[in-house]
């Protein structure tokens, strides 16, 4: 039988003024199961806690109810005190008779009556409280960073610098991401490559970082602290350890294809290095473009039609039989930094993007500006290589356009367009530059100053307006738009048009399914809380960095990367993770395997558990909770129609007992009005 102690606090006058604490304590004595009760001016004081601890020992209490203030305030205090006296902390509960009783009900009788009822319900709850111990989860001290752009690089370095190993996975042959494509960066106009390349090199040399390029995450199993990740390393057909990066193979290769790194504005060979500063600095044979036909299987080639690269390769680094390799890594934390891409939609097409070669997007223009780009840094238009005289920049081509594009602001376009204008003007002083814009949003450090400077100093026309279409007339592009300030239709000739396309997520269904983290309506990964937990995700141990979560500029992406790294390190720095024991508990003996619990669990804490017979054949598939992942919301328990899922610390037995104690004396049980039939008139007949 439970032996419960009830401690009614006066809280000085705070409770005592309206609740007669001595009467409540006296009442508590009558509740079956209560063996001790006391009232005291301040139970939270040191002598008060001593009374509590002594009573626990002396009366061998199995549960404690402290009727005092809100548990949000002093629950840890009293649980701590009870714990020191030998009770499990979860066998100590508070009855809130201050915030929710004495302070809000001026009538002494009403308040005292209510306090009694709160105490009775809490006693019932504690009687059925189980001792719970925190869930201990071992942690694998290694992080996985997905994405080798600037966010991924930063996160990897930050984690690795604390001494924890990192696996950095990049889909492309080289690290660098979109930032590597940029010419200069706003607002300081320092060279992107110059600041990024050292970081890339640092990563590649870091003893704690394993870089896996040309690789993709295929499968993520496990849970916080204990992920098992399968990564597919695609064959590069060039043995990195043998390749000297001499480039002879490139010269020999007969097949030229558009270079993705240059946004298709230049050519590369089927065997290539994406850009000179690529890390790792090894060559890759693009199996899809190589003249040799690809095997149906994932390894090697079926027929060798051309072996020129191999013939010229002195270190014999070419291996046509190289297979894809699937490696498995165990990690404790995962940082997702998959970055962004530009989205071309209907508004882009109206601006001639994808139709006229001289309509380019921001990244293409970066390459045209870049000293390492296809034009060596000279701005020439793609169609014929002429130097443009009129350049028109169009902002918000799809951004902030809920009907035809995306509703959100892409955040970087205003700034990079200002940068583009500045760089353009530096290179071509006489060019006429016009910017169509909706608003100029320049909310970063030094951003507004930069835009103002560009607008003032660079003789650029900022036109508030919208572009309806871009057409080609007499060999020249004509931009049709409206100056929304004057309401006048505008028609501008252009040699080159730069459209600011929306930044959107890299949609990788397979990855998001593997990670079990949801995406928002636009496909960006969803953070756990937009304000307070912007780095975490619904899946504990998986963090977000950079534009994978939302459009970001470099400083913001790097900032979040460091935050994600910090979160990962927080997790990896402890050998065992302690988690609240108030988790869902499944009794699978009667589970029918509908898995609606799994469907409603936001945390992926429910797993399918196959029960097998002695011969190993699956007899049933039932649900199982992973307490390391469960957050204890209890949504699953309501979904389970036959009540197989309970919630530790808030069990159905406790809830029912509380409900029974909260109500008034049920007349059917109090004064037993039996009919001859024996059916007592029960209060319940009321529903």
């Amino acid at each position: 039988m439970a032996r419960i102690g009830v401690f009614v606090c006066h809280c000085g006058e705070n409770i005592g003024r309206t609740v007669r604490a001595d009467e409540v304590a006296e009442f508590a004595k009558r509740i079956p199961g209560t063996v001790y009760s006391a009232d005291y001016p301040y139970f939270c004081s040191a002598p008060g806690q001593k009374i509590l601890a002594e009573a626990i020992r002396e009366h061998e209490l199995t549960g404690v109810v402290v009727a005092a203030c809100s548990p949000q305030l002093h629950e840890p205090t009293f649980r701590g005190a009870a714990c020191q006296a030998g009770l499990n902390p979860f066998q100590c509960e508070m009855a809130n008779i201050r915030e929710q009783c004495s302070w809000v009900h001026p009538d002494r009788d009403e308040a005292t009556a209510k306090a009694c009822s709160i105490v009775a319900a809490t006693v019932e709850r504690v009687k059925r409280a189980q001792a719970l111990t925190p869930v201990q989860v071992p942690v694998t001290r290694r992080a996985l960073v997905i994405g080798g752009g600037v966010a991924g690089i930063r996160a990897a370095l930050d984690v690795a610098n604390t001494g924890s190993p990192v696996v950095l996975v990049e889909r492309e042959p080289s690290l660098g991401g979109n930032m590597a494509r940029l010419s200069e960066t706003f607002p300081t106009l320092d060279c992107s490559q110059c600041i990024l390349t050292p970081l890339m090199v640092e990563v590649s040399r870091h003893p704690q970082i394993e870089v896996l390029t040309l690789s993709e995450v295929e499968e993520v199993k496990g849970f916080v602290g204990n992920f098992k990740v399968k990564i597919r390393k695609k064959a590069s057909f060039v043995r990195a350890e043998d390749c000297t990066a001499c480039g002879d193979c490139v010269a020999a290769c007969p097949e030229a294809v558009p270079n993705e790194f240059d946004m298709g504005l230049a050519w590369r060979k089927a065997i290539y290095i994406p850009f000179p500063q690529a890390v790792p600095s090894t060559y890759t044979l693009d199996a899809d473009r190589c003249l040799n036909a690809r095997l149906d299987s994932e390894t090697g080639f079926r027929l060798l039609a051309c072996v020129r690269c191999s013939e010229v390769c002195k270190p014999r680094a070419i291996d046509y039989d190289m297979p894809d390799e699937v490696v498995e890594r165990e990690v404790g934390a995962i940082v997702v930094a998959t970055g962004y891409k530009l989205l071309a939609g209907e508004p882009a097409a109206e601006c001639g993007y994808g139709i006229h070669p001289d309509v380019v997007d921001g990244l293409e223009f970066e390459r045209l500006l870049s000293a390492s780009g296809p034009t060596g840094g000279e701005v020439r238009r793609p169609s014929d290589g002429k130097t443009p005289e009129d350049v028109v920049f169009i902002q918000c081509v799809g951004s902030r356009d809920p009907k035809r594009g995306v509703p959100y602001c892409s955040r970087i376009c205003c700034m990079y367009t200002a940068k583009h204008v500045a760089l353009l003007k530096h290179k071509l002083h006489d060019v006429r530059a016009t910017v169509f814009f909706m608003d100029v949003r320049a909310g970063g450090k030094g951003y507004e100053e930069f835009v103002q400077r560009v607008a003032k100093e660079e003789r650029v026309l900022y036109l508030r307006g919208q572009v309806s279409q871009v057409v080609k007339r007499n060999g020249k592009l004509v931009v049709h738009g409206v100056d929304t300030l004057s309401g006048q239709a505008v028609e501008l000739p252009a040699d080159l048009v730069v459209v600011a396309l929306p930044t959107g997520p890299i949609r990788n269904e397979r990855l998001s399914a593997a990670l079990r983290i949801p995406t928002d309506a636009h496909g960006f990964f969803q953070e756990l809380h937009p304000k307070l937990r912007p780095v975490e995700t619904l899946t504990a141990g998986i963090y977000l960095a950079g534009a994978a979560q939302a459009p970001k500029d470099i400083p913001d992406a790097v900032c979040q990367a460091s935050a994600a790294a910090s979160k990962s390190v927080e997790l990896l720095s402890q050998p065992m993770l302690q988690r609240e024991p108030t988790t869902a508990v499944i009794d699978d003996t009667h589970c029918s395997g509908c898995f609606e619990c799994l469907a409603v669990c936001a945390y992926g804490a429910i797993e399918r558990n196959e029960i097998r017979d002695r011969r190993g054949a699956i007899t049933r598939v039932v649900a199982r909770v992973n307490p390391a992942v469960c957050e204890g919301c209890g949504v699953c328990s309501v979904t389970c129609r036959n009540g197989n899922i309970d919630l530790a610390g808030c069990t159905e037995e406790q809830i029912f007992a509380q409900l029974a104690a909260l109500g008034p004396a049920p007349p059917g049980r109090d004064t037993i009005e039996e009919t001859d039939e024996g059916a007592p008139a029960r209060a319940a007949d009321r529903v």
């Binding site: 004595k29 009558r30 509740i31 079956p32 199961g33 009775a120 006693v123 019932e124 003996t589 007992a657 029974a660 104690a661 004396a665 049920p666 049980r669 037993i672 039996e674 001859d676 039939e677 024996g678 059916a679 007592p680």
Partner: protein, 350 residues
Amino acid sequence: MEQRGWRLSAEDVRTWVDRLIAEGREVIAPVEGRGPRVFRPLGCAAEACLDPGKTRWSPKEFLFPRTETLYHYRLRADGPELHDPPLAERERVLFGVRPCDAAGLVRLDEVFLDGPVQDPLYARRRELTTVVALACQEAGPECFCTAVGGSPMGTEGVDVLVLPFGADWLVRAVTDKGRALAAESWTRAHAGQWSLAADQVRRVEQRIARAPVAGDVAAVLERRFEDPVWQETARRCVSCSICAYVCPSCSCFDVHHEGDAWGGREIRCWDACTFPLFTRHASGHNPRGGSAARYRQRALHKFAYLLPDAERTTRCVGCGRCIALCPAGIDIHDTVTRTAAGAEGEGADA
């Protein structure tokens, strides 16, 4: 037999019932209202329905309630304080009971009164209850009282027997208890009228086309304990308890405990051998885990196990309700007679 009984008009019967009520008795009779025809306590005679046909379920709940309290308790500092439930005090007439249902009450008596322990709640109710039976005016396709030794005008468990006689009724007291309900002023009936009325009922009886259940059925069924017929028939069984709950002679129950912080009660509720949980141990082991074992238990409990005397071959009274209402179309009479006859598991019931 000097028992000539009486002849009552419909009006007389109404007056009779109203008088029984006025004298302080609770009169319980078939009532038609929303839902099916069932036995309910009458406010006045006009509420009773004495039309042909039977009620959806037997009136057993007035002796063996669906749920009743066995004792109450209140928790005190020094331990629980126990209280017995009150015993029934009011005299009661079950009116318009079909003979099969009246016989069913005797089956209940055997369980609750004839064993080593007598149930005081039941005993008191039984003592206060008088049964007025009404001979059948029609027989349904499910009826088989005659197959188990009953009759549409059987008198087992009956205190007063009423036979339809044209628009009137012939009334005869079967027991002294029944005689106490009669009135001095009633018109006597004569023997000729009785034989006419009995002929009428016999015509109903002849419409019951079901084969009699053989006298040695108990032994045969126990021998055929492992017969595939149980499996084949029970395959359809969905494990509800309609058959048991509408049955006049089923008497199984469960004992539950209901309590809150302050006290509680022990209750007895109807239960049925067709429910899987009926026999499941706390360990999970279930001696009758399959529907076949449960259906066999039910059939054998009716036709083989624990028959009180050698003469009676069944505990089943042949009302046929379990057949008419089974959502899976299981027919216990068919199963039992075919099994007893050694029939293979062929035919409609396969």
